[in-house]
C-alpha cells in the first residue's frame, strides 16, 4: 500500500461486513437500554445532587435541634437552609437545561462541549457544597466555642486554641477527602471526552 489512493480503491471494493443484522435484530436492539457516557453522567449527577442532602436522613433530628437551641444556632441554620435550597434549585435548573441541550445529532464538537458543560454544572455544585460546608463549619465552631454554655462545660485545663486547631484540621480533612474522591470520579468519567475535545480544538500543523 504505497500510496493512499490505492487504499481508497481497496476501501471502496470491500464487501459487506461479516456481521449483519436483520430487521428483527434491530427491533430487539431498540428495546435495550443505552449504556452511553451521557446516561452514566446523568445517573451519577443525580446521585451527587442527592447525596450531600441525604446525610440529613441519617442525622438524629431531635438531637440536632436541641444542639442548635443550646448554642443559639437555630436562626443561622434556618438562614443557611433557605439559601441552600434556593441554590440547589438553581443548579438543578441549569443542569437540566444543559442536559436537554445534548443532542446526538449535533456535530462532534458541540456534542462534546454540551456534555462537558453539563458535567461542569455538577462540578460547580460539588465545589459549592464543599465551600458551604466549610463556611457553615467555621461559623458553627465560632458560635459554639464563643458561647458561655461551651466555655462553662470546658474542663479547666483545656486550651481553646487547641480545640479550634483540631476542629479546623478535621474540617479540612473531611473536605479534602470529598474533594479527592470527586476528582477521581470526575477524571474517570470525562477522561475520554476531554481528550477528544482537546484533540478537536488543537490546530497544530504537521
Amino acid at each position: 500500500m504505497e500510496n493512499l489512493d490505492s487504499i481508497k480503491d481497496l476501501w471502496k471494493n470491500q464487501g459487506e461486513s461479516t456481521i449483519r443484522f436483520t430487521q428483527s435484530d434491530i427491533h430487539n436492539m431498540v428495546q435495550k437500554k443505552s449504556s452511553s457516557i451521557v446516561k452514566w453522567i446523568l445517573i451519577i449527577s443525580i446521585l451527587e445532587f442527592l447525596l450531600p442532602n441525604l446525610v440529613f436522613i441519617f442525622t438524629d433530628i431531635d438531637a440536632t435541634r436541641s444542639f442548635y437551641q443550646k448554642y443559639e444556632l437555630t436562626t443561622v441554620m434556618q438562614f443557611y437552609g433557605i439559601i441552600h435550597i434556593i441554590i440547589i434549585i438553581g443548579f438543578i435548573y441549569i443542569f437540566y437545561k444543559n442536559y436537554k441541550n445534548i443532542s446526538v445529532a449535533s456535530n462532534v464538537k458541540i456534542l462534546l462541549s454540551d456534555i462537558l458543560k453539563t458535567r461542569r454544572t455538577v462540578k460547580n455544585y460539588i465545589y459549592y457544597n464543599l465551600t458551604i460546608m466549610g463556611i457553615i463549619g467555621l461559623h458553627m465552631f465560632y458560635m459554639v466555642y464563643n458561647s458561655p454554655q461551651f466555655i462553662d462545660e470546658l474542663p479547666n485545663n483545656s486550651n481553646l486554641v487547641m480545640v479550634w486547631g483540631i476542629s479546623i484540621i478535621l474540617l479540612v480533612l473531611v473536605l479534602l477527602i470529598f474533594w479527592l474522591f470527586y476528582r477521581v470520579l470526575y477524571g474517570f468519567l470525562l477522561k475520554k471526552l476531554k481528550k477528544n475535545y482537546a484533540e478537536l480544538l488543537s490546530q497544530d500543523s504537521l
Binding site: M1, E2, N3, L4, I7, K8, L10, W11, K12, Q14, G15, E16, S17, T18, I19, R20, F21, T22, Q23, S24, I26, H27, M29, V30, K32, K33, S34, S35, S36, I37, V38, W40, S103, V104, A105, S106, N107, V108, K109, I110, L111, L112, I115, K192, L193, K195, N196, E199, L200, L201, Q203, D204, S205, L206
Partner: protein, 164 residues
C-alpha cells in the same frame, strides 16, 4: 413511538448498516465490542429518529450520529481488549480471529485506522468515503482550514503506519 415508525426505522437501518459497520470496525478491535457499539449507535439513532426531518440524507445523518456515539458516548465494554498504539503489534489484533475470509490488506488498513486516535479515525473514514472538506468540517464542528490541517496529519500518520 409507533410500531410503524419503528418498522420504517429498522428497514432503513438494515439497508444502510454497512456504514455503521465500517465505523464500528474502525473504533473497536473485537467482534463483541463491534456488536456493543453497533447496538449503542442503534439506540442513539432510534432516540434521535423522531427528530430526523430529512434535511439531510438518512445515510449522512446516520454517519454523524455514529461518529458522535463512537467519539463521545461509547463506553468501553469490559469485554473489549485494550491495545496499545504500538504499530508493530497491529497484526495481532483480535479481528483476524473471526474475519479469516477478508482480504489481508483490508485487515491491515482497519488495524491501522484503529491505531489512530478517535478524531483521526473519523477523519480517516471520511477521507476513504470521499467526503468533502465542507462535510467533514460540519460533521466534526471545526473550520475547513482546521479540517485540512488535521486531515493532512492523519493521512501522513496512516501512510507511515501502512508503510513502516
Amino acid at each position: 413511538m409507533t410500531k410503524e415508525l419503528e418498522q420504517k426505522f429498522a428497514k432503513e437501518l438494515e439497508d444502510n448498516q454497512s456504514i455503521i459497520h465500517k465505523v464500528c470496525r474502525s473504533y473497536t478491535n473485537n467482534e463483541a465490542a463491534h456488536k456493543d457499539l453497533f447496538q449503542e449507535i442503534t439506540i442513539q439513532l432510534w432516540k434521535a429518529y423522531p427528530k430526523f426531518r430529512g434535511e439531510s440524507k438518512f445515510s449522512t445523518w446516520m454517519y454523524r450520529v455514529s461518529f458522535n456515539t463512537a467519539i463521545s458516548l461509547y463506553r468501553k465494554s469490559k469485554r473489549r481488549v485494550e491495545t496499545t498504539q504500538i504499530y508493530d503489534n497491529l497484526k495481532e489484533l483480535e479481528y483476524q480471529d473471526y474475519d479469516e475470509s477478508s482480504d489481508k490488506q483490508l485487515k491491515l488498513l482497519y488495524n491501522a485506522i484503529y491505531s489512530l486516535n478517535d478524531i483521526e479515525k473519523a477523519l480517516a473514514l471520511m477521507y476513504l468515503e470521499d467526503k468533502s472538506y465542507k462535510e467533514i468540517s460540519q460533521t466534526l464542528g471545526i473550520s475547513e482550514v482546521n479540517a485540512r490541517v488535521k486531515m493532512n496529519r492523519t493521512k501522513t500518520k496512516l501512510k507511515n503506519i501502512l508503510n513502516p
